[in-house]
Amino acid sequence: MKRLILALAASVAFAGMSVAQTYPTKPITMIVPFAAGGPTDIVARLVSENMSKTLGQQIVVENVAGAGGTTGITRASQAKPDGYTIMMGHMGTHGAAPALYANLKYDPVKDFEPVGMAAGTPILIVTKKAFPANDMKEFVAYLKANADKVNQAHAGVGAVSHMTCILLNSQIGVKPTAVPYGGTGPALNDLVSGQVDYMCDQIVNLVSQVKAGSIKALAIASAERSPALPDVPTTKEAGLPEYQVAAWNAVFAPKGTPKDVVAKLTSALNTALDDAGTRKRLEDLGGVLPTKDERGGEWLGKFVASEVARWNPVLKASK
């Protein structure tokens, strides 16, 4: 009985310093709101492997996929805020979700303690091999002239390829026919075989097809060219400078997690991002790591607010 009271007292007083000094004393669960093997899952597994070493406790990745990632994040946001449940949030779950899901059970800005940005993957604009346009300028002109003929593929509502192409189309000012697919794989397959004309997606999903010449890459939506595809110009160089978008992944804890626990997680995350091996693996995937200024919870908090503000009007207008 004594032990029970002590344990209960300890778990109630989780805000106390003593907890943070000993944290973590048991394995931490990191909820990844997507299926294993996807880009977010890979980032989570690479980062958490190194964080586990720093924290001295295993971080167990738990994939809770569903509803564009909002199922997992909803569950994680309702977990006990003791630092033993954290999550890998994503551009969709913490940026676009409020615009896409009317009955979303969390607020990306208010319901979380941001831990820090992990990695982003820039978006690539690609067309089928036989597409008449060979650069961004021709592409925009062709799209404007043939808007009723062109078919754009995406991997379903809420997918990165769906949202980022809506942004692209709205910036160009066209509404081509959108063909939905059940995932990046089948969409890419039909792009390679020429059934559809173009799509936008994370570079990691497209790089090998571009290198093999089975599809054409027009531009990359990041500030700098990617070492993975050095010949592909940035959108700035290609003449569409306002199209800057990356699928970002960041670590969050549920609201109410003690400040010093969050700080410990942030510093472990930063250690992982400084680790040469982890860096190399993330960069090999075409990932872009946060600069020193873009690290930590404070920056992430502001960034999330700006992302929500950015996606809301674009996605609502497309409905």
Partner: protein
């Protein structure tokens, strides 16, 4: 299947010549109507741009029509009667699964495993409580070793409610 029922144990009632088909038809009609009612608010769209409701609604109608077909057959063609339902089996088996679902997270596999198995065991008319209890505990131990230790699945062994009480 029709050869299993001999003609004399089939009592023609209200012109129904196959209770099984009649029930099956009604079941499908109910399913179709329910699905159609649930999907009615969804847009049907056009062939060029099919709405979300097009297929669910058409399929619901087809299921109901199929059900109607079965009802009609049941009035025209002799077929098997409805079998007896085993309420005991259904109650304990499905109840046991529900118990597992409700207790796995708060209490963990150590409690919900034996609980669900013991409850489920009562579905059999050969139920022996001592044997079932011992077997439930042994098998749960095996499950923990298999799923948690060997396969490393993130299944809660000790639930969130028990965690603060136990020393590990």
């Amino acid at each position: 299947m029709s050869e299993q029922t001999s003609p004399d144990d089939r009592k023609p009632s209200f012109g129904i010549r196959s209770g099984q088909d009649f029930g099956a038809g009604l079941f499908l009609i109910a399913l179709g109507i329910f699905a159609f009612w649930q999907a009615q608010t969804l847009g049907r769209g056009t062939l060029n741009a099919m709405g979300a409701g097009m297929l669910p609604q058409s399929l619901a109608v087809m299921v109901a029509v199929g059900g109607l077909g079965l009802v009609i057959t049941s009035l025209l063609v002799d077929g098997p009667r409805l079998e007896r339902w085993s309420l005991r089996g259904a109650f304990f088996i499905f109840g046991g699964i529900v118990l597992f679902a409700l207790t796995i997270r708060p209490l963990g596999l150590v409690v919900s495993g034996p609980l669900a198995m013991f409850f489920g065991s009562m579905a059999s008319d050969e139920f022996r409580w001592k044997e079932s209890a011992i077997f439930a505990v042994i098998l749960t131990t095996i499950c923990i070793l298999l799923f948690k230790v060997l396969l490393r699945l993130p299944i809660p062994v000790v639930g969130s409610l028990l965690e603060p009480i136990l020393p590990f």
